[in-house]
Every structure is written in structure tokens, then in C-alpha cells.
């Protein structure tokens, strides 16, 4: 954002700034109307793939959750192999599934593992490249070749064996009857699309599979919790500059104008033993965010209480440039909020009157990119419901929406500060840090072939 030297220049850039802000916050309103962001992972496997399996050598039950060997077992190319219907979903910390050996048959040559898409469906998992398998007859782990490595115990009738991928540590792991038997690095098969795979190879062998529809023998939740804890412990070893949290909290309170909290906070930090002094040298430039603290607090409280007229009057007195242009984003948001407040108390006639006078002029404005229109329509739609809070536009009546309006006005006031350098200063330090954290975690996952958990603040908080 360029700032020119003349007064006129400043006004222009301020207008642009407040316009950008307004539109930005309209977007936030849209976000506020949806639930907490939930990441959509790919569909998980939930049954066996009957189309792509070595049909001649096995039969899959109608429920697609168990197989029986029907071949003769003459050599190494008549294995009855079947993959799951979907590949392993990767946007998570761990993936896991189990098999139950109903009958180990004549030779117990059962295997569980992971194979890639073009796997030769007549070979044991692990006998070909880009596959791995834990075999029941010898307890060996096979990784892409005919010779296996010592890995774990053998397994047979009555055993429950599990196979999993830990995307955090990039390892395969296998379990027997609820206990881990071993892990192995996943490096070679890293960016391949892998399918959970089971196989049978001698007469009478029968295996049932569980993709999570039933309780696992292995305590997966505990394993995941332990993994997260381990990662957390590594992270905890990082050192931070002293009192950095206090500084960031303080800056947050200043930024949003929570003056009373700030005063209590300062008092409390001074009387801590030892007292916490957040000195200027730490880089906290109070001047910028101390700006108009009391006025911002006052206006925020008015908006939070639904006293929109009072808030607009204060703005006219203290920061006329924000509400000067009747078609500005600030005016728009406040007029909308006034409309919503009428609805909240059931004053529908006043709402309609207000809407006709103040809101109608915002419809069809070309440069506002439909966001104004959408919000006006949502507000007006509230009129149609007996219980507007329960409608899909009910978000407008929530506390959090009042907060969005209050935050917008707060940001606009901050932007009238001649010392305010650019739009980016209108996010609190805390917000900037959290955005950076999220972006870094996402990029890190991308660099990992898209595998693993992303960072979600809401998950951490709940």
C-alpha cells in the first residue's frame, strides 16, 4: 500500500484502505456464517475391491469383508490377493486396518500389507516393488522382493493382525492381537498411492477384514495420542524469548481495544513474582496500537450491546472520515446491523422501513462484487421466518456476528492512524503468527507428498 505525502494522497489511500477492509470483512461475515473449517480427506477404504482381485484364486463374501482361498497353491503366482476399494487416505496422522484369521488353512500363508495401484494380483504383498507385506507363515516382512526380513512373530487361526501407516514418522507398522510387533520406514513407497491389501494362498484359508467398522483389537486412539504427545514433547524443547506470550497477549488486547482487560492484565503482571515487564526493547511498538484505545473500546461496547445508532454517532464525532461516505463499507455494515437488531427484538415494521431507507441503495452497486448484495439479501430474508435464529441466516443474529461488525469498525479506526503503515498492520500479532503457523504446516505437508495432519487451531482448543 503506497502512502503519498500530501493530505489528498492520504485521503485517497485511506478510502482505498477502508474499501478493501470493508470487502475483506464482508468475506469474514461469510466465513462466520459457516462452521469451523473441517478438512475433507479422501474417502477411506471400507470394503474389499471385488473387481480388481485375483478372482480365480479366491472368493469374496457378499459383504465384501472376508475372503476364502479357492486356488490350488501350486507355485508363487497363484496367490489370492485383494485390495481395499479405496486407497489409504493420507491427510491424517495414522491410517490403520485389521484382519482376523478365521482359518489358517493348510499352510497359513496369509499376508497383510499395502500395495500400489498396478500390483500383480497373483503375488503376495511385498513380493513385488512398491508393496510391503507382513506374512503369517514366517513372520517376515517383505518389501519389494522375494526375500523377507525378520520382523515379528508368525500368526495363525484366531489371531488379529493389523497394518498401519504412520504419516508423522513415515513408517509402516504392524500389530498382532493388539500389540505392535514392529515398524519399518516407508521411504521408498513414499509418494505412491497405496491400497490396504490382504492375501491367502493355501486351501481353506479364510480371512476377515475390518476397516474400522468394528472396534479394533489395537488401541489406535491411544497410539495416535502417544504420537501426538511425542511430537509435542519434541516441540516443547524449543526455546522462546522470555515473556513473549505476555507481550503477544498484551498486543492482542491493545489491538482489539479491550481496554479494561488490558488494565487488569498490566496490573496483574506487575504484581506477579517476579514482576513481568514488557519493555519497549522487545519490539512492541505500543504507539501504533495504543491509538484511540478508549474510543475503540467505547464503540465496541456499543456495537456489542446492539446500540448501533449510538455507535454511529460516536463515529461521526470522533472519526467522521469513516462514515462520511454513506455508501462506504462501514456505513453498509452498520446499517445492516441496525436492521438485524430490529429483527432481534421483533420490530419488523421498523426493520422494513430502515431497510427501504438505508439498505436498498446498496443493492446492485457494480464495484462491490456482489458481496454487498449477498449480505443485504441474507438480512432481508430474516423477515420471512417466525424464528429467524433457527434459519440458515440465523448467523446474523449471533453474538459472533456483532463481533465481526465491531472488529471491522475497530480496524477502520486503526487505519485512520497516520502512523499506520499498511493494511497488514490491521491484523493482531497473534493472528499473523497463527496464520504463519498454519501456512507453514500446510506447506510442510505438501513437501511431504501431501501426507500427514495439518494444523487446526480449533482442534487444539477443544
Amino acid at each position: 500500500m503506497n502512502s503519498s505525502n500530501g493530505n489528498n494522497g492520504n485521503n485517497n489511500s485511506f478510502d482505498r484502505l477502508s474499501q478493501d477492509l470493508g470487502l475483506h470483512f464482508l468475506e469474514l461475515v461469510r466465513i462466520g456464517s459457516s462452521k469451523a473449517p473441517v478438512e475433507i480427506d479422501d474417502a477411506a477404504p471400507n470394503e474389499l475391491n471385488t473387481i480388481n482381485s485375483s478372482a480365480g484364486f479366491l472368493v469374496v463374501a457378499p459383504d465384501k469383508l472376508s475372503v476364502k482361498y479357492t486356488g490350488v497353491n501350486l507355485h508363487g503366482h497363484d496367490v489370492g490377493v485383494v485390495q481395499a476399494n479405496n486407497p489409504v487416505p493420507v491427510k491424517r496422522l495414522v491410517y490403520y486396518f485389521e484382519i482376523y484369521v478365521k482359518d489358517a488353512g493348510v499352510k497359513g500363508q496369509i499376508a497383510i500389507g499395502f500395495t500400489s495401484e498396478g500390483f500383480k494380483m497373483r503375488r503376495q504383498p511385498g513380493w513385488e516393488v512398491n508393496s510391503c507385506g507382513y506374512h503369517g507363515d514366517d513372520g517376515l516382512l517383505y518389501r519389494g522382493q522375494g526375500k523377507g526380513d525378520a520382523f515379528g512373530p508368525t500368526y495363525t487361526t484366531g489371531d488379529t493382525v493389523g497394518g498401519g501407516i504412520n504419516f508423522g514418522s513415515q513408517e509402516f507398522f504392524f500389530t498382532k492381537n493388539g500389540a505392535i510387533v514392529g515398524t519399518v520406514s516407508k521411504e521408498k513407497e513414499m509418494n505412491r498411492c497405496l491400497f490396504p491389501t490382504i492375501s491367502v494362498h493355501s486351501q481353506n484359508e479364510e480371512v476377515h477384514v475390518n476397516f474400522g467398522q468394528r472396534k479394533f483389537a489395537f488401541d489406535l486412539k491411544e497410539y495416535e495420542a502417544q504420537e501426538r504427545l511425542n511430537q509435542q514433547m519434541t516441540i516443547e524443547k524449543t526455546s522462546l524469548p522470555p515473556n513473549i506470550s505476555y507481550g503477544i497477549i498484551r498486543a492482542y488486547l491493545l489491538h482489539y481495544g479491550y481496554e479494561d482487560t488490558l488494565n487488569s492484565f498490566d496490573l496483574a503482571s506487575k504484581s506477579t513474582i517476579p514482576p513481568i515487564c514488557i519493555a519497549q526493547e522487545n519490539g512492541f511498538d505500543d504507539q501504533d496500537i495504543m491509538y484511540a484505545l478508549n474510543q475503540r473500546k467505547t464503540i465496541r461496547q456499543l456495537i456489542r450491546n446492539g446500540e448501533i445508532d449510538a455507535a454511529m454517532n460516536k463515529l461521526r464525532d470522533w472519526f467522521p472520515q469513516i462514515v462520511q461516505d454513506d455508501k462506504s463499507a462501514a456505513c453498509f455494515l452498520l446499517h445492516c446491523q441496525k436492521f438485524v437488531e430490529f429483527i432481534r427484538v421483533g420490530a419488523l415494521e421498523e426493520a422494513v422501513k430502515h431497510g427501504r431507507i438505508e439498505l436498498a441503495k446498496f443493492l446492485g452497486l457494480p464495484e462491490k462484487d456482489n458481496l454487498f448484495d449477498a449480505l443485504v439479501m441474507d438480512c432481508v430474508a430474516l423477515l420471512a421466518y417466525e424464528c429467524p435464529q433457527e434459519s440458515c441466516f440465523g448467523y446474523l443474529l449471533q453474538e459472533s456476528h456483532r463481533d465481526v461488525v465491531a472488529d471491522t469498525v475497530n480496524a477502520m479506526i486503526l487505519s485512520t492512524n497516520p502512523k499506520m503503515k499498511d493494511v497488514r498492520c490491521l491484523q493482531s500479532y497473534l493472528e499473523r503468527l497463527l496464520r504463519q503457523l498454519t501456512a507453514c504446516c500446510l506447506e510442510r505437508r505438501l513437501a511431504n507428498g501431501g501426507q500427514g495432519e495439518a494444523f487446526h487451531l480449533c482442534r487444539l482448543l477443544n
Partner: protein
């Protein structure tokens, strides 16, 4: 060196940052969690009023917890123990290490106040039995009692026990135990998130060049630079420092007459 790494420009990175959805409510919760865990009751109350955020713990319990913490910090350990038991007798029952540390602190305070006889009696009656049950308790007990052997406690090897930091350590332990007994995490979440940021950036550095936040206290993005120009930047800084040193704080313009260059030449050999 850095050339095989993926490079993300400032513009591209800022786009990603703006795509991130952070909810105000969640940030408010983080702040409230901090105020509550650190025990700032009034601030938490005010924050609830000003932001509408509900605390994740009953504020009344904070006052009690802070009273215990304060008592230990001031050396009133008996008082603290009484208060903890009023709050929840199970805390000390289920936490022998904490109880031992509190008793140890009591002993330290007796020694600090010169009550030698009382200290010895207390050590023998209350602490020695604990020491018999547990090797590390015994070692701690021996360390504490050894304070009595020195005339000049400020210079003895276990002098740190008399330092206020010992009180703070015990106070912190009690605070954590109370929080845990209330099914609340004993540490605020914010510092962990900050550490996670530092860690995530370090991890990402191995594979990608991108704008970093190097100074957490002002959360400013710093442009990705290639190693070479980064070195040049530091050479520039050294020159400026040298000029300032020689010619006073206002002279930072490096386009000075050539005569001065000879003085700077020492610093360019980096």
C-alpha cells in the same frame, strides 16, 4: 546450496496467508485460556465482559488457586498446605512428590528464619520417614539439612535452596497440581503454539525457501533471501556500524568521499 530448494515468493506466500481461516472466537479462547491458567482472575473477568468469551474453568477456583500459589511464593507453606487441603484434600494425598516438596520448603523456611531446633525436629519427624520410603526424597532431604552445616549459607553449594527461585518452583508445582486436579491443562496453550511455529519454520527450512517470521514479538515477515545476498546484507550492516562508530550516529550514508574507504576496508574482508 539453497538452489535445489523450492522458492516461494513473498506475493505467493501472502496469498496463502490470506487464505488461512482463523476465527476470532478461537483467538479469544486462546487468550482466555492464558489468563485463566496464569491465574489472572480480574483480567479474565474483564475479558469475559468485553469479549463475551466464556472461561474454560470456574473463575472462583482461580482465586483459591492463586491464594495457595501466593502463600508458597511468600514462604507461608503451612498456610498453603491448609488451603490446598481445603480446596481438595485428594491433591496432596495423590501427589507424594508435591507434598514432599512442600514439606521441604517448610524446612527451608525454618532454616532461613534461624529456627534451628524446630527445623531439626521437623526434619526428623516429618521428612525423615518420607526419605526412608524414597531414595530421591532422601537425597533431597540430605541436601536441605546440609544447609544447617554452613555459617555462610549464601556461599555454600546448596545455597540455591534459599533462593526465591526455589519458592517459585514449588509454587509452580502446586499450581500445576491444582489445575490437573480440576481436569484442566497445567500449561497455557499459547507458548506451545509459538514453539510449534518456530519448529514448523525450522522443519520447512530444509525443503523450501519462503518468507519467515524471525521476530515473534512483532510478527513481521522477512523476505526469502538467497544465502549470498544475505551475506551481503550483513556486510552492509557491518559497514554502517563502522561508519557510525567513527563518525557519529547520524552518518549512515556510505557514499562518502573515498578517503574514508580505507577505514572500512577492514570490515569488508568477511
Amino acid at each position: 546450496m539453497g538452489t535445489s530448494k523450492k522458492v516461494i515468493t513473498r506475493e505467493e506466500w501472502e496469498k496463502r496467508l490470506s487464505d488461512v481461516k482463523i476465527r476470532k472466537e478461537d483467538m479469544n479462547k486462546l487468550v482466555m485460556n492464558f489468563l485463566v491458567t496464569e491465574g489472572y482472575v480480574e483480567a479474565a473477568e474483564k475479558f469475559r465482559m468485553e469479549s463475551g468469551t466464556e472461561p474454560d474453568i470456574d473463575l472462583a477456583t482461580i482465586t483459591d488457586r492463586m491464594a495457595v500459589k501466593k502463600a508458597v511464593q511468600c514462604g507461608n507453606v503451612e498456610d498453603a498446605i491448609e488451603k490446598v487441603n481445603d480446596l481438595n484434600p485428594e491433591i496432596l494425598d495423590t501427589n507424594p512428590q508435591l507434598f514432599f516438596h512442600l514439606q521441604q520448603q517448610r524446612l527451608i523456611e525454618l532454616i532461613r528464619n534461624g529456627k534451628i531446633e524446630e527445623a531439626l525436629e521437623f526434619a526428623q519427624e516429618e521428612l525423615a520417614p518420607r526419605g526412608e520410603e524414597n531414595q530421591s526424597f532422601l537425597e533431597e532431604l540430605e541436601r536441605t539439612v546440609s544447609l544447617l552445616a554452613f555459617e555462610d549459607v549464601s556461599n555454600c553449594p546448596v545455597g540455591e535452596l534459599l533462593d526465591i527461585s526455589q519458592r517459585l518452583k514449588t509454587a509452580s508445582e502446586v499450581n500445576a497440581a491444582i489445575l490437573t486436579s480440576q481436569s484442566h491443562e497445567k500449561d497455557p496453550k499459547l507458548p506451545s503454539l509459538l514453539k510449534m511455529l518456530v519448529w514448523a519454520q525450522n522443519q520447512l527450512d530444509e525443503k523450501v525457501t519462503y518468507p519467515r517470521i524471525n521476530d515473534l514479538s512483532n510478527a513481521t515477515l522477512e523476505d526469502p533471501v538467497h544465502l549470498q545476498s544475505h551475506q551481503q546484507n550483513s556486510i552492509q550492516k557491518e559497514r554502517q556500524w563502522a561508519v557510525r562508530l567513527c563518525y557519529g550516529p547520524h552518518q549512515t550514508n556510505l557514499l562518502q568521499p573515498l578517503a574514508h574507504l580505507s577505514l572500512l576496508s577492514n570490515f569488508t574482508q568477511m
